[in-house]
Symmetry: C2
DNA sequence: TCTCTGGTTAGACGGGCGTCAAGACAGGGT
DNA sequence: ACCCTGTCTTGACGCCCGTCTAACCAGAGA
């Protein structure tokens, strides 16, 4: 949190306090949907979903762009564009250390999304 | 539980058996991402996210279109279009009973998505 | 059967998204 | 200081998405 961050005002999605109840328990209000939908939309691209997974599951919790880019059959700018999309919705955070840029996942917002999708283990049938 | 399960033509998103491990534990393969991304994309629209919530949290587990449509400032065909999107990715199921059409949530795929986004409760910071 | 209501489908339009090539920027090495 | 490597930004292009109006289809009721 040293640099200017994403300057996107991601609300409280990055906090650990749950922003909302599970989707199946209470109807999600319009304002909440307007804030959470972009995060799901960001994960709605196969490349970004893989990028998110590679970053979140990386050793030490961070992944270098130099490791992410060659994993796809896409150009560098395209990967950079997808990474920026993930950053703008608060799913990842970027940090430049020397030559390379490292991306780190933000588990808080992932928890928010997972909580929203949570379903009762035994709901009728 | 090897990666062989992903070699299927279509992942069984409607089964209760988890299709994959959490996104932050293991890198999600391309085929899995290609199947799951559309589901996230479907939830990436505020209207569809609210529709999904209204259906999943409805009494009796199902919601009538006649109750869904007036909740938005959109035309009937637009709501119908969004509902079809949710149906095509397997998030909901539609059934016509008499005059009205009822939509029902599919908790299995919701569980799949929630599992994918699951994060260790106490990992690092 | 005819008609009325509710819901979906078809067609179209404007805006946004994914992708690339080319240029700009940041740091390190010589 | 210069260049070289690595990454991000810009501008552009084509496709897809969200929305609408108009037309079509399925049941219920008379």
């Amino acid at each position: 949190m040293s640099k200017q961050a994403a300057s996107r005002t991601v609300l409280d999605l990055n906090s650990d306090t749950p922003c909302c109840q599970p989707l199946a328990q209470r109807r999600v209000p319009a304002e909440t949907a307007a804030v959470l939908a972009p995060a799901f939309k960001a994960l709605g691209d196969p490349v970004r979903l893989q990028l998110m997974s590679m970053i979140a599951s990386a050793e030490g919790g961070e992944a270098c762009v130099c490791d992410l880019t060659p994993a796809f059959d896409l150009t560098g700018p395209t990967i950079s564009h997808h990474l920026r999309t993930l950053r703008e919705v608060g799913l990842v955070d970027a940090e430049r250390r020397g030559t390379w840029v490292y991306y780190r996942a933000r588990p808080a917002i992932l928890r928010q999304l997972a909580t929203l999708l949570a379903v009762e283990p035994t709901t009728t049938s």
